[in-house]
């Protein structure tokens, strides 16, 4: 922590400055913290697509086709992949938040390891979902 220089007329003279985020190397836990927030905001937008999906289904074949005409395109699939990843990430990271709230998992080494684990697993979840669809293992409710 740096001290502000002692200059006359500076009311904060000599007081310690609060830590500056920008001078630190980013540890994995800082990445997971901001990513939880980003995925939370992303999912809040994503749920609007879910509302549209429900409306589309309620509109019958026309609605269903209109929905797929937009979402079953490269940009549409990219958005869906993003949402799948965000949900997997936010779910895993949210579970860790709940564990923290109960007082578990604060050890520094453990949090670093769990952060890497959450990132890795979230991509596996998203990739897994798309692999299931593309290999014809989805659609089992038919």
């Amino acid at each position: 922590m740096a001290d502000t220089p002692q200059t006359p007329g500076n009311p904060a003279a000599g007081r310690p400055l609060s830590p500056h985020m920008t001078i630190y190397r980013w540890p994995a836990t800082m990445m997971t913290s901001i990513t939880h927030r980003i995925t939370g905001v992303g999912l809040s937008l994503g749920i609007l697509i879910l509302a549209w999906w429900l409306i589309a289904i309620s509109n019958g074949p026309d609605g269903w086709n209109a929905f797929h005409a937009v979402m079953n395109t490269p940009p549409g699939l990219l958005v869906l992949f993003g949402i799948a990843w965000a949900l997997g990430y936010h779910l895993l990271s949210g579970l860790r938040h709940l564990a923290w709230d109960l007082g578990y998992g604060f050890d520094k080494k453990l949090s670093e390891r769990n952060s890497v684990l959450i990132f890795g697993l979230s991509f596996l979840v998203a990739a897994g979902i798309f692999v299931l669809v593309w290999t014809g293992h989805a659609g089992y409710l038919q």
């Binding site: 749920i47 429900l54 289904i57 659609g139």
Partner: protein, 126 residues
């Protein structure tokens, strides 16, 4: 050290925001509920991916599926509104923009919730 809270406020545990830990607690309750609900949601969406509208209509017309979908959407929307409020509180510092954004979040959430419920009712009656 003397406290900024009046004794009455302190005994009511409400603090400066006049709402105490209520917001924090609702965010956790909805988060805990969303764990099983989002797993069910993934099961449902994956099961319907690549099928057709008749399959989706039949599936969502079943009472339990309609109820679980409604529970997922409403819980997620409530959780999202609580969460977005914290995000806005953290980054927006002028009263006017803050109130405007809070309103925007609430209106969007109520609109998305009503529209989703209406769609589910329509599907049930299809």
């Amino acid at each position: 050290m003397s406290s900024a809270q009046s004794p009455l406020r302190r005994t009511r545990n409400l603090g400066a925001s006049h709402s105490g830990t209520g917001h924090f607690w609702r965010e956790r309750i909805t988060a805990a509920a969303l764990v099983p609900l989002s797993l069910w949601f993934l099961y449902a969406v994956l099961g319907l991916a690549g099928t057709n509208v008749v399959t989706a209509l039949r599936f969502l017309a079943l009472p339990w599926n309609a109820l679980l979908m409604a529970a997922f959407v409403l819980t997620a929307l409530y959780h999202a509104a609580l969460g977005l409020q914290v995000v806005i509180d953290d980054y927006v510092h002028t009263a006017g923009s803050k109130i405007l954004l809070f309103l925007l979040v609430r209106i969007s959430v109520i609109a998305a919730g009503s529209v989703s419920l209406f769609a589910l009712l329509r599907i049930a009656a299809f």
